[in-house]
Symmetry: C2
Subunit: 181 residues, 2 copies
DNA sequence: GGCGGCTATGCAACTAGTTGCACAGCGACC
DNA sequence: GGTCGCTGTGCAACTAGTTGCATAGCCGCC
């Protein structure tokens, strides 16, 4: 399970509350590891029990107290242990691929429309990634260490979305030719 | 949940036992929807309760009886309903990306080695996909209907693995330049 | 003056997925 | 003669992830 480790990486970059982490998991690190606020709160609690993080309660007025978490030495050690571990490549689960494969058992046009929807999503996502790259990494060749690594992860997102976009286009073209309306 | 639907698609192509389905999920359809034999047996049982499949018990000698499942009319209807449904794009979970992003908090060289391991895995997987394409779809432009859809899904796998391979190479080159040994 | 959205946390119940084990006979290999 | 792997099914226990709800005050909008 890598949620703990994704949280450790994120908290190491900047301490924060469960709520803030949930925001970060809606973007940035969450582009490569999805998580809801529920999961994050539960996991932070467990990590606190394990002493991988320390929580500092901060009173606020006008809103509930918040707990600012930061990585402890034990947490950093655990992260280093995990980084040395070998892991299996992520298991894939693409309902869209299953739908395409089953298209001829239902309405292929409805499936084509679903592919078009996904195409739009991937195009948007790609725009977001490219905008981040332009803004945060204007000179990629000058990068080192942490900043380099952040950029490389973003590059992975860009390459994945480009491939998905091309695939959607290929599928749409082939299905249109197979069944011209 | 698409496991039921992946099973429906697979059983519609050819009826089979839980064991056979588990084999298929180790390759072919399983390249796009991972599942263990445990999950498959449990799901088949539930699908049988829902009358989406029918089971025919076949006695064998020398080994346990087997249950050959096939899709029922209700199952086909459910599949058609699902094909018309819109779904969200798959949530991603790439521990490798998390590891790269955290590389500078541990040993970047160990992470680079992990990237190299994944690179080998993706290169192998790409070879498998290309071999299947060459063998099963020698003339892609002549395909229609079900065969076309099967090929398009395979194309998605090829494009995804190509993108991952290129990404691994980019990461390895950049990390080597950042930290030449 | 009400409604929705933001910050902030969390419980409870559910669904899905993983891991380990068990049974059982066959054939192949060493 | 024993171990390993294949076919075939399945239970039990666990871990992970999702969904719905609750609390609670603030702010801005219509």
């Amino acid at each position: 399970m890598a949620l703990e480790h994704a949280i450790l990486v994120s908290l190491d970059e900047r301490p924060g509350t469960g709520y803030e982490l949930a925001r970060r998991f809606d973007k940035s690190i969450g582009f490569f590891w999805a998580a809801t606020h529920q999961q994050i709160y539960r996991t932070l609690k467990r990590m606190d029990d394990l002493r991988w993080v320390t929580a500092e309660e901060v009173a606020q007025d006008g809103r509930p107290d918040k707990k600012v978490y930061r990585v402890s030495p034990e947490g950093r050690q655990e992260l280093q242990r995990w980084l040395r571990e070998t892991g299996e490549p992520a298991t894939v689960r693409h309902d869209l691929a299953v739908k395409i494969r089953g298209a001829s058992l239902g309405d292929p046009r409805a499936v084509a429309e679903e592919v078009a929807r996904h195409r739009r999503h991937h195009a948007e996502r790609l725009d977001v990634y490219r905008a981040i790259e332009k803004k945060d990494f204007p000179d990629p060749s000058a990068l080192h260490g942490r900043r380099l690594h952040q950029h490389l992860v973003l590059r992975g997102g860009i390459k994945a979305e480009e491939a998905l976009l091309e695939w959607c286009d290929e599928v749409l073209a082939a299905m249109r030719e197979d069944d011209p309306r």
